[in-house]
């Protein structure tokens, strides 16, 4: 009891707890939801005042809790969840980090938000992101960059940089992100937290502002693997409002936690053996898993396929931002055509323009076959590689990102170099398979601070459970989540 009291009176420490720790406190009556929200607000305000300027939230000074009256036994009762700015929350400004959506108040909730509210969660704060989720550093937002709480000189990764940063910085208990080419997993790796991109179709995309509709998935970013499983339990499942959401039964993911991984088969296809990967292999082998080399011959083409397919879909999805129905409009334009062109010219940032140009080009008459159609065929070959691999192994292991968090501005001048930071994460989006990033250790090579590095497990379609089983076993054996201070 003394222990609990000391937590309650120490402002900011409740925000350091995990979903499952908070659930335990609610269950034994040691905590009220208002007390938790008060504490979290204090933590957010203190971060806003400090010198590090993390800026994970875009609305840090105007966060208001959104909740529903549901039974206290509900799965995420009283758990505050931060939400990426590309997910619609009714009555809240939802801008996708873009000037062109400034002032847009969503008239409805995204399905994931509905599900969270129905499970008792509290929607608490909107997190920063790259504009339209175009980016790997959270630097292209119209609100300015978010910084990495592990080292404020560095980026938090992207595009869900705000979501990963607030979880790592203990200004959120957990957060929603979206992942089109690594936008949940790469920031999870850079910030040292757990991020899951579920199977394409596992989570409804209704109310997610579309980037690339054949690649986008929504997923949880959390402090540990258990929280991630509890979170996905709530948001997964078929939704009639999203015709691409899959009507596949959702198991209780927490059932997979603590199961032995003895005899499980893990494939490794990464050409580079990093110390993080070598260590992971040692750990997994010591837990009884069988690790074998694997060939995914077309994976080397994944980044190229992605930078044809994703901008093509994006250029089409972003056609709706024309100044007619919502958001920003250049009201000085005299004609309709000029209104479209100038609204878009002023409303979109540089990376959005770059991708619209690329996508329009590869879909334009004369280039469609050479670029878009060809890329879709190579995508088939990448998907076939995964199908073949999963006949032999239960999961594929790789680093999440080729490096730890880089410095702000370091890759801003070279889009191509930025794109290559997603080299390990993109293949799972192209194949539609689930993939999870869990803290895999730290990197000392950059001199200064120990920077977290993620380890990625890629799984069979709709087999997120196996990824949780493996990641939990690894997490419990290594304790990186505790060493990083995610879990007290």
């Amino acid at each position: 009891m003394k222990h609990q009291n000391s937590f309650v009176h120490d402002t900011g420490s409740l925000s350091k707890l995990t979903i499952h720790q908070l659930a335990d406190r609610y269950a034994n009556g040691a905590l009220t939801c208002d007390g938790l929200l008060h504490d979290l607000s204090a933590a957010i305000r203190s971060r806003d005042r400090d010198q590090r300027q993390i800026r994970a939230y875009i609305n840090f000074d105007s966060i208001r809790p959104i909740r529903r009256e549901v039974p206290k036994a509900s799965k995420l009762w009283g758990i505050p969840i931060a939400v990426k700015d590309n997910l619609c929350v009714a009555g809240e400004e939802t801008t996708c980090g873009s000037k062109i959506l400034k002032g847009f108040i969503s008239p409805y909730h995204a399905t994931v938000v509905e599900k969270l509210l129905n499970a008792g969660a509290v929607i608490f704060g909107r997190t920063n992101q790259d504009e339209f989720a175009f980016g790997s550093s959270c630097e292209t937002s119209c609100y300015g960059p978010t910084r990495n709480p592990r080292d404020p000189e560095r980026v938090p990764g992207g595009s869900s940089g705000g979501s990963a940063a607030c979880v790592a910085d203990h200004t959120a208990i957990a957060a929603l992100g979206s992942d089109t080419g690594g936008s949940i997993r790469q920031p999870a790796s850079f910030c040292g937290v757990v991020g899951m991109k579920p199977t394409y179709g596992r989570v409804s995309r209704y109310g997610l502002i579309a980037f690339a509709s054949s690649l986008d998935q929504i997923g949880p970013i959390t402090k540990d693997v258990r929280d991630n499983a509890l979170f996905l339990n709530v948001i997964a499942g078929h939704d009639p409002k999203d015709s691409t959401s899959a009507d596949v039964p959702v198991p209780d993911y927490s059932d997979f936690l603590g199961r032995s991984i003895q005899g499980m088969r893990i494939g490794i296809a990464a050409p580079v053996q990093t110390p993080i990967l070598e260590n992971a292999v040692k750990v997994l082998k010591s837990l009884g898993a069988k690790v074998e080399a694997l060939s995914l011959p077309h994976i080397a083409y994944a980044v190229s396929v992605y930078y044809i397919v994703a901008p093509a879909e994006a250029s089409s999805n972003l056609a709706r931002f024309d100044g007619v129905r919502f958001g920003f409009r250049d009201k000085s334009a005299p004609s309709l055509l000029e209104m479209y062109e100038h609204t878009r010219g002023q409303g979109f940032g540089a990376e959005a323009k770059r991708r619209i140009i690329l996508g329009t080009y590869s879909l334009s008459s004369g280039y469609y076959d050479a670029y878009y159609l060809h890329a879709m065929k190579v995508r088939t070959k990448i998907k076939n590689d995964f199908d073949a691999a999963f006949k032999k192994v239960d999961a594929i292991l790789s680093p999440t990102a080729p490096s730890p968090a880089f410095k702000l501005g370091e890759k801003a001048a070279s889009p191509l170099e930025m794109y290559l930071s997603d080299i390990y994460t993109i293949p799972a989006n192209l194949a539609g398979v689930p993939a999870l990033s869990v803290p895999g250790g730290t990197d000392h090579s950059t001199g200064g601070k120990d920077l977290p590095l993620g380890l990625q497990f890629i799984g069979k379609p709709f087999d997120e459970g196996t990824l949780y089983q493996l990641a939990y076993a690894f997490e419990q054996a290594t304790d990186y989540h505790k060493r990083l201070g995610n879990v007290c």
Binding site: H298, L336, R344, Q346, Y367, M376, V378, K381
Partner: protein
Amino acid sequence: MGSLDLRHIARLSRLHLTDAEIKFFETQVAQILSFVDQLKAVDVEGVEPTSHPLSLCNVFREDEIKPSILLEEFLKNAPRAKGPFFEVPKIIESHS
């Protein structure tokens, strides 16, 4: 792979770009396109394209009337609205 006419592409995209932007993007987009040219090395003879990771087709639902969000709710977001309509600059030229 063909010349890159950025003005044409910008026109197709309904995207106004300044001269400086055209110059800026020309180099970068050319670099990206030359990078993705590595795909040409992949033999895709007889391979079906994947436009989507799930093999879904024609997802049907019952044709039922359900409550929808009120028109006024949507019009609240319009940069300009008049009555039940979105208002835009005049499209038809007048000859008077």
